[in-house]
Amino acid sequence: MTVPALRHERTFVERLYLPEIVKGLYITLRHALKNLFEQDLPTIEYPDVRKPMPERYKGAHRLTTRPDGKVKCVACMCCAQVCPAKCITIQAGEDPNDPIEKYPVEFQIDMLRCIYCGYCVEACPKDAIRMDTGIYEINAFTRQDMVHNKAYMTDLMDGHKPLAETFYRQQAGSAPKGYDTDEQRVLPVDGSRGL
């Protein structure tokens, strides 16, 4: 079945073209002047100003620890199993001095492969892996450095609070206009800004 496309019949003024150009010029000029004088752009001047991340933003993975400092992970491989990108490599080992016998000798996530789906967090029976760091600047100069290992992920939150504990509240006061200072992103959803 073919549906004939509805074509807009152009009026004489529209076909003159120049009035339409003037209309377009008016719109763009209005934007330019408004932005020039009001300086009220939605752009966030990253890296100096940072967008407050929502609480449930999935950032870099971290490994949580027990009170005694050992990782909670028991190398059950549930995360490795559920990972759709197959980016988690765990080498299990036995800790003879721990009632929880099994622990990960090495725990690696290849961040180049990771797709940040968060399944590992959901699959973990021990709440050992979380993505609540709010860290999205995951970069390195070599592929090898993009593989986060156990030590890195355990110490990732040193000196920081994870998102859920209002990681960004400290910066909230300086959030640019257009963003609620109270952590959640508030952008006009109707796209009406300036138009």
């Binding site: 028991v74 190398a75 059950c76 199993q81 299990a92 080992g93 016998e101 021990k126």
Partner: protein
């Protein structure tokens, strides 16, 4: 034979058949923990409870029910389901639920049956009863009494199969736990089976401990090559690496058991003693070069001074191919098979499974020798070598030089094998063959049962399957036996040798078939374990 009715399905089974087996035959799975087809009935897990419709009344455990005429049971009535759910709740009451660190998870009956028959909400308000954990009860075993459901399978195995009886159930009610007598350790050679039969994670294997979650493992059916018994095994592997061998049930060979030596047989797959590349005069070479050099060497000597030795560790296909190559290209050459163990082979023997002959295919080589009377045995070969008639030996896997201890110096050896041994080290030309886990083929066990091995792994190094190596050697000499793959090789073999007549890989299936003309064999048939 009595006809029983299970969930309305009538089925005819031999009298006295256990109803769990009868139900399985009818296509119904009755959950069970303590029942094991090769152990006595204990009836203490109560999981197999079924409702009797006719020929009795009430609920009874299926494992202790024997098929008799007029018996009708139901395995899916609401009552049965309620019983199962309650049984699961009891069994799991003190279970630590440490599945994340338990090696059994993935193949644990508690996990499976909870999902199938449990699914209750926990009502436990009191702390769980703690028991002994991580007990070192044997060289290959770890016992976690907390995970135990007291099914007593391991106790019965010790009592009935090995007769050593180290394990017992101690204490009463919910303090019941499996344990060994103070100061004792399990030291028999069948420890691995305890980990296998344990339906939960109470007894686990030290060798496999924390190595791999079982759900990652691919499984390939094969046959143990540790000795002539030919226990059926399952090769558990992932990404080209073998993690464990598991016994595979074959009532005619190994029931459900295998010995610990065979269980660790996978360790020589990637061992340093593997032959991975062709070698000519001690120098590494391309495989094609090696084959060309071997063919040239064979043509370079007087054909009558060449001796082909069929391998008692090589597949039937390879032995047949070697025999064909010898007959087709060097008719004057002698063909022998050489009985006896390689020097340094493991020596443990008992009347349960471990055979004195440590070669998996002696019977197969013997069958070929019976087919062609011109094939001499080890004594003939020793004679010929001593008399100086043999200038060149072509050896398949076996450590022939080691067996002929006083073998004359100066005999050029062409060795086709997967493991280094005295012969391979002294050989002029060595061609790499695959390990049995890396190829298809058949072995004939001590009782004359032809059983299949299947390729589980990619070949290591340049190695080629036994039959293919021989095939290429034959082609280089002028005429190969003409097999495209192991299956056609076996088909050609079956068409030619009467003992194998009519067999195909399909017919062999998982359990194998006995040779057509069972040969009287020197060693006695395996002793039957104590009957239940």
């Amino acid at each position: 034979m009595p006809i029983v009715k299970i969930n309305g399905v009538e089925i005819e089974v031999p009298a006295g058949t256990n109803m769990i087996d009868a139900a399985a035959k009818a296509g119904f799975d009755i959950p069970h923990y303590c029942y094991h087809p090769h152990l006595s009935i204990a009836g203490n897990c109560r999981m197999c409870t079924c409702e009797i419709e006719a020929g009795g009344r009430g609920l009874e455990i299926a494992c202790n029910m024997q098929a008799r005429d007029g018996l009708a049971i139901r395995t899916d009535s609401p009552q049965v389901k309620a019983v199962r759910r309650n049984v699961m709740e009891f069994l799991l009451k003190n279970h630590p639920l440490d599945c994340p660190i338990c090696d059994q998870s993935g193949e644990c009956r508690l996990q499976d049956y909870y999902m199938e028959h449990g699914q209750y909400e926990s009502r436990l308000a009191d702390p769980k009863v703690g028991k002994h954990k991580r007990m070192d009860i044997g060289d290959h075993l770890v016992l976690d009494a907390e995970r135990c459901i007291a099914c007593s399978r391991c106790v019965r195995f010790g009592d009935e199969v090995t007769g050593t009886g180290e394990l017992r159930l101690f204490n009463r009610t919910d303090h019941t736990e499996i344990g060994i007598f103070p100061g004792e350790r399990i030291s028999h050679a069948y420890q691995g089976n305890l980990a296998d039969i344990c339906p939960v994670g109470a007894i686990t294997s030290k060798d496999f401990r924390f190595e791999k979650r079982v759900w990652y493992l691919d499984e390939t059916d094969s046959v143990c090559t540790g000795c002539a018994t030919g226990c059926n095994i399952r090769v558990c592997h992932q990404q080209g690496q073998v993690f464990r061998y598991m016994p595979r049930r074959n009532d005619a060979v190994n029931k459900s058991w295998m010995c610990d030596h065979g269980r660790l047989g996978w360790q020589d797959i990637a061992s340093l003693r593997r032959v991975l590349r062709a070698r000519i005069d001690g120098k590494q070479a391309e495989l094609s070069e090696g084959i060309r050099a071997a063919a040239a060497a064979l043509r370079g000597v007087d054909a009558s001074s060449v001796a082909f030795v069929l391998g008692t560790r090589a597949t039937n296909e390879a032995n047949w191919a070697l025999w064909k190559v010898a007959r087709a290209n060097l008719p004057q050459a002698g063909v022998y098979w050489c009985q006896g163990n390689d020097p340094g082979a493991w020596s443990q023997v008992d009347d349960l499974l471990m055979d004195a002959d440590k070669n998996p295919n002696r019977a197969g080589a013997r069958a070929l020798a019976d087919h062609d009377a011109a094939i001499g045995d080890g004594t003939d070969l020793a004679h010929a070598v001593r008399e100086g008639k043999v200038r060149m030996l072509v050896v398949l896997h076996d450590d022939v030089l080691g067996r002929l201890e006083d073998a004359a110096e100066g005999v050029a050896v062409l060795h086709l094998g997967s493991q280094r041994n005295t012969t391979a080290d002294k050989a002029r030309i060595v061609l790499p063959a695959t390990h049995p886990t890396e190829q298809d083929g058949t072995f004939t066990n001590r009782a004359g049962r032809v059983q299949r091995i299947r390729r589980a792994l990619p070949a290591a190094g340049d190695a080629l399957p036994d039959w293919q190596l021989v095939e290429l050697l034959g082609a280089a000499l002028g005429k190969g036996p003409g097999a495209r793959d192991a299956a056609t090789a076996f088909k050609l073999l079956a068409g030619e040798v009467k003992a194998f007549a009519g067999m195909t890989y399909k017919d062999l299936g998982g359990g194998g078939l006995p040779l057509r003309q069972p040969e009287p064999l020197p060693s006695p048939p395996p002793a039957q374990p104590a009957a239940p």
